[in-house]
């Protein structure tokens, strides 16, 4: 294992994150704070989500997950897309680095970045409402697994995209709608009939509910099922990556 090589990629990616803090760190924070003001405080005081959890508290895990998904996906997809686009990827391909080391370098950096953002969002939310976490370790596990899985997913998108447009298709047309429909602002139990059932096809429902359980010990889905779904998704990404690397598809001519 080329540890130094792996760590160099990780470091390069983390430096990229902190080079544009406005874009990578503060922008999700501002967005989340706005959601908080509008939904958490203004509208939320009139919505009951059951139990002794207030609406403002209820949306915190959802908001964290929403940022986590999009930032880990964006970090990993742009991380690998730009070297491909600018040609600097020649350095990685000609170095004694395995595909595993390259993948882990990029995806773990994207994971770290997303996790930092989720901690910041949590801290921001504390300005609006107290948010106790019932099972902090489970929460970290959910956050890590989800961020890592979406980093893998983003890495695949970055590898396969050959235009900026393709790079943005997934986040815009799949991830954003699915996270809005994934129960950030409502419990899927509130949905009537068929919409309730359809919701369970959306993997993001499981991620949000998994984290929600770790916060409040109650959610629409059992946490074990949530973990199971995330792991299945992760394995699917790993399998796809393995296929891509085996053939060198879209990486080498």
């Amino acid at each position: 294992m080329n540890w130094i090589g792996f760590f160099t990629i990780y470091k390069k990616e983390m430096m990229r994150t902190f080079r544009v803090p406005l874009q990578t760190i503060f922008s999700p924070v501002i967005t989340t704070a706005l959601y908080f003001v509008v939904f958490g405080s203004a509208i939320g005081s009139r919505i009951s989500v059951g139990g002794d959890v207030s609406y403002a508290q209820f949306i915190v895990p959802g908001l964290i997950m929403m940022s986590l998904l999009s930032s880990s996906l964006a970090a990993a997809s742009s991380g690998i897309y730009f070297p491909k686009f600018s040609g600097t990827i020649y350095e990685l391909l000609s170095a004694p680095l395995s595909y595993l080391e390259i993948t882990l370098g990029y995806t773990l950096a994207a994971t770290s970045r997303a996790m930092i953002i989720s901690v910041i969002i949590y801290i921001v939310s504390l300005f609006f409402t107290p948010v106790p976490i019932a099972h902090p370790f489970v929460a970290v596990l959910f956050i890590f697994l989800t961020a890592f899985t979406f980093a893998m997913f983003g890495f695949i998108i970055g590898l396969l995209s050959d235009t900026f447009e393709k790079l943005n298709i997934f986040p815009t047309f799949v991830i954003t709608p699915l996270s809005f429909l994934g129960g950030v602002f409502y419990s899927v139990d509130m949905l009537p009939g068929i919409w309730h059932q359809i919701s369970y096809v959306n993997p993001i429902v499981y991620m949000i509910n998994g984290l929600r359980w770790s916060f409040f010990e109650s959610s629409s889905v059992s946490p074990l099922i949530s973990i199971g779904i995330i792991v299945i998704f992760l394995v699917a990404c790993l399998f796809a990556l393995w296929r891509i690397f085996k053939t060198g598809y879209k990486i080498k001519t």
Partner: protein, 304 residues
């Protein structure tokens, strides 16, 4: 001893373009090998296959006897590439980009090496500048500096002096000669024939994906050094006078001209020759000299 062995290498790009056709080539340890060929000949393709950027269609390549695919870690540990295009992350500093290069190769930081390389390429005062703030020629030197951070045994330079001014080009030749002295094997491509003449130990010519010639430069230079003096005579001459009967002087079949073959080793005394002709009452109509250059050889080869 050869450090790089290429055997029956073929490359067909998607879409069916055959960029390399059964290329076999061995590079000796410690030499400078210049690969010449017109645009699209397959030079970059060849280099990129060895460096792991392009998948070969068939054939075998080894570096230090390590297969570049099956034992890519061992093979690549020895090899650095300076690519033809300037491909650099614009937003990091010169020093940072050098350190990353070394890191990717799994080697621990070595600040004194960074300094030595940057000084050698007159970039030390730019070390804290972002890459985007450099001129084109500086960026090309940064690419070379990055490649050296790996302390390579084999260094590929794909058109290292493209877009570099004349003075700087001479500096770079000196620098490359210095790297060679430290024992590095260098394979370079160039469109400047004088560059190949100046630096290379051996020269290879590739065209349409096929190696047309591989030759020691000194032997090539001897061929190139050949000169011909063509003297047209006013009147036909039946026989060469005795004092003109030398093995390098030939009377043409139509007996109307003399052909004098000479090269850099034979210091032809032209004034003496003229005097001898005059003494024999041979009147000269016209004189033409011809010299074959690397360019002639090159053009002959690729026009075949």
């Amino acid at each position: 001893m050869s450090i790089l062995k290429i055997k029956n290498l073929n490359k067909e790009y998607k879409g069916g373009l055959k960029a390399l056709n059964d290329v076999s080539l061995e590079i000796n340890k410690g030499e400078i090998f210049a690969l010449l060929g017109p645009n699209g000949a397959g030079k970059t393709t060849l280099i990129n296959i060895v460096c792991g950027l392009v998948n070969p269609s068939s054939g075998e390549v080894t570096v230090n006897n390590f297969d570049i695919i099956k034992q890519y870690r061992e093979a690549r540990a020895f090899v650095s590439l300076v690519p033809q295009e300037i491909q650099l992350d614009p937003f990091i500093t010169v020093e940072q980009t050098l350190e990353f290069s070394r890191g990717f190769f799994g080697k621990a930081k070595k600040p004194e090496l960074t300094k030595e390389i940057l000084e050698g390429l007159s970039l030390w005062d730019k070390k804290d500048n972002k890459v985007i703030q450099l001129s084109g020629g500086m960026k090309r030197r940064v690419l070379i500096a990055k490649a050296l951070m790996n302390e390579p045994e084999v260094l590929f330079l794909d058109e290292p002096t493209a877009g570099v001014d004349v003075e700087l080009r001479r500096d770079m030749w000196k620098f490359i000669a210095k790297i060679k002295q430290q024992g590095t094997t260098i394979i370079l491509t160039t469109h400047y024939l004088e560059e190949a003449e100046e630096m290379a130990d051996r020269i290879g010519v590739i065209d349409k994906g096929e190696i047309k010639m591989v030759e020691n430069k000194d032997i090539l230079m001897k061929k190139m050094g050949k000169k011909q003096l063509l003297i047209s005579l006013k009147k036909t001459l039946e026989n060469l006078p005795a004092d003109l009967q030398k093995k390098y002087i030939v009377l043409s079949d139509d007996k109307k001209s003399l052909l004098v073959n000479y090269d850099s080793e034979l210091n032809l005394d032209i004034a003496g020759l003229m005097q001898t002709l005059k003494n024999n009452n041979i009147e000269i109509g016209d004189i033409v000299t011809k010299q074959s250059s690397l360019e002639d050889i090159f053009i002959d080869l690729i026009n075949e």
